[in-house]
């Protein structure tokens, strides 16, 4: 008897599965960071990736996008290898991964999201600029379009990155800690944006490190610690036993987990 996932896959090959990872292993300097990851993410899911520091959360999304060499296994996006579907993938890197003193304006950064749709030697057109402006408006950053990026607060920087991801007009988004170090207003704006994207059938894979909010923000959770501990709807996965096996015997975190579980009950 086939499992429900298999049934979906065979009925409608490729189209309802946005991300499929099979037996993925990634190693840094011969030391495995991710081990035998198997994952099938249907379309239209808002997935939070949680796990302790060093669990390989960022590594997982980078490897899935082909940014890191993988030791074994494969990744398919909408039924095809990642390289063939790059324009359908959007990426929000960690805010600290870039130099915010770089001599570009907010508009320049958002326009980078359009580069994947332009060929070699082609410059962003008026249409690309209009799209970029719309995306900036969606994150309430349009008035800052001509600002130099070093004059932005942390929350504003994150909104610019989100606008850039929106400008990519992708179907599958990978976001690396978009909530890290942002103000409350930005946090609420990001949550709203994630849900809006999900309601439009986009799939979102979001690395998140705060457990209590993870339960509220995401409808699916991927508990990760080198391996997939659990993946499923938040209310089924966010249990004491599963969180404990994700975070191991780390006392401080365990008490947080206990608190989070209590808050749930």
């Amino acid at each position: 008897m086939p499992s429900p996932e298999n049934k979906v896959a065979t009925d409608n090959p490729g189209s309802d599965i946005s991300l499929e990872i099979h037996d993925l292993t990634v190693a840094y300097h011969k030391k495995p960071v991710l081990w035998g990851i198997d994952l099938v993410v249907p379309r239209g899911k808002l997935v939070g990736i949680v796990g302790p520091n060093g669990a390989g959360k960022s590594t997982l999304i980078k490897a899935a996008m082909g940014l890191l060499p993988i030791s074994s296994g494969w990744v398919k996006v909408f039924g095809e290898p990642v390289k063939k579907n790059l324009t359908r993938i959007g990426y929000v890197p960690q805010r600290e991964s870039v130099d915010w003193d770089f001599p570009v304006s907010v508009m320049d950064v958002v326009l980078m999201g359009r580069y994947g749709h332009l060929g070699l030697l082609r410059r962003p057109s008026k249409q690309d600029r209009d799209i970029a402006r719309e995306c900036l408006d969606k994150v309430k950053m349009l008035p800052y379009a001509n600002r130099q990026i070093s004059n932005l607060s942390g929350g504003q920087q994150q909104r610019v990155f989100l606008a850039r991801a929106l400008a990519q007009e992708s179907d599958l988004y990978f976001m690396d800690e978009p909530f890290a170090g942002v103000d409350a207003a930005t946090e609420a704006a990001i949550v709203e944006l994630l849900h809006e994207l999900k309601s439009r059938g986009k799939t979102l894979m979001v690395v998140h490190h705060d457990l209590p909010t993870a339960r509220r923000y995401f409808d699916s959770l991927l508990l990760l610690n080198m391996r997939v501990v659990a993946f499923g709807p938040t209310d089924q996965v966010f249990t004491h036993d599963l969180l404990q096996s994700t975070y191991g015997g780390r006392l401080t975190i365990l008490s947080e987990v206990a608190e989070a579980v209590r808050a749930k009950e």
Partner: protein, 321 residues
């Protein structure tokens, strides 16, 4: 009257070079401008990628490439020298990456290892092969060219028109192609410098851009070296870009300012060299450094002078009495 600093005679320093020796000073200034502009344009991207010293490294690493090209072709022709330098520049880049990625050695140390060993290899190759058969190629002529000799080089004649001395015409072409490449591949250069991970996720290979930049850097360096020497090249990879950083926070404007810096450094350098009767290349670097300092002190957004005034004006309010 100091014996070390000659008298400043406005007529002699500023008027005479153009009135009496326009041909020679004109070519020297133009050569300085093209070298500085080409180096400065490429240098902007090196500085943005925090690879300023890689330029220094590549400029030393081209020596073995030119030596091997010379041994294989038995000539000091332009094409073999260019190809040799290009290959050497890329080998140096690969070597730096290899040492840095495959061992615990950090990038700055990897740069130090790669370029000194390649430079040493070049010296040995020249000692072994080039001296024989009475052919002249030595490390001095590669690294310590003299810009003052540029006007004496043979002229390029194209379609009946005398264009200029060979090195000047060659350098003008290199500067022009540099500008053209930056215009054509602006978005690839921009995104791979700002956010390499995003670039790769967009299908723009950060690695390809990196090697292409290093390869072109080698071409710029070698076309400048023979005639102007290492000091001008290495300094001008960093100075114009660093100066532009003070004056604008928009990359296209910075690139324009780089060219302005190149023109001013070249002209001021020529006058300084006439005044002090010293090396033109050295004087151009000093002039470029003076412009850098001026931009540092006087720029209107966060210049030292502006900050000093602002703090002076603010101080009484903050600390009364």
């Amino acid at each position: 009257m100091s014996p070390f600093v000659p008298d400043f005679d406005f007529q002699r320093v500023f008027i005479a070079p153009w009135a009496r020796d326009l041909a020679s000073f004109g070519w020297i200034a133009l050569m300085g401008f093209f070298v500085t502009a080409a180096c400065g344009l490429v240098g902007n991207f090196l500085v943005l990628r925090r690879m300023a010293l890689v330029g220094d490294a590549i400029s030393h690493s081209v020596l073995p490439g030119m030596a091997v090209a010379f041994i294989l072709s038995q000539s000091r022709g332009t094409l073999p020298m260019f190809l040799g330098a290009l290959v050497a520049g890329i080998v140096a880049t690969v070597l730096i990456e290899l040492i840095h990625k495959k061992s615990r050695v950090k990038q700055d140390a990897a740069i130090g290892i790669a370029f000194t060993s390649l430079f040493a290899l070049g010296v040995i190759l020249i000692n072994l092969y080039a001296g024989k058969g009475g052919v002249d190629l030595d490390q001095e002529c590669v690294l310590y060219g003299e810009i003052a000799f540029v006007p004496l080089e043979p002229m390029v004649v194209f379609a009946g028109q005398t264009l200029g001395p060979i090195p000047v015409v060659r350098m003008a072409l290199v500067a022009l192609v540099t500008a053209l490449l930056i215009v054509l591949f602006y978005k690839e250069l921009l995104v791979s410098s700002f956010d390499p991970a995003l670039a790769v996720s967009l299908g723009i290979s950060a690695t390809v851009v990196h090697y292409a930049l290093m390869g072109w850097l080698s071409v710029v360096v070698v076309s400048a070296f023979e005639s102007v020497g290492a000091i001008l090249v290495i300094a001008m990879l960093i100075l114009p870009a660093a100066t532009a950083t003070f004056l604008s926070r928009r990359l296209p404007v910075m690139l324009g300012l780089t060219i302005l810096h190149a023109a001013l450094s070249a002209v001021l350098g020529v006058h300084l060299a006439v005044w002090l009767d010293c090396s033109s290349a050295g004087a151009m670097v000093v002039a470029g450094t003076a412009l850098f300092c001026a931009a540092w002190v006087f720029n209107p957004t966060d210049g030292l002078l502006y900050r000093w005034f602002r703090e002076r004006l603010k101080a009484p309010a903050v600390h009364p009495g």
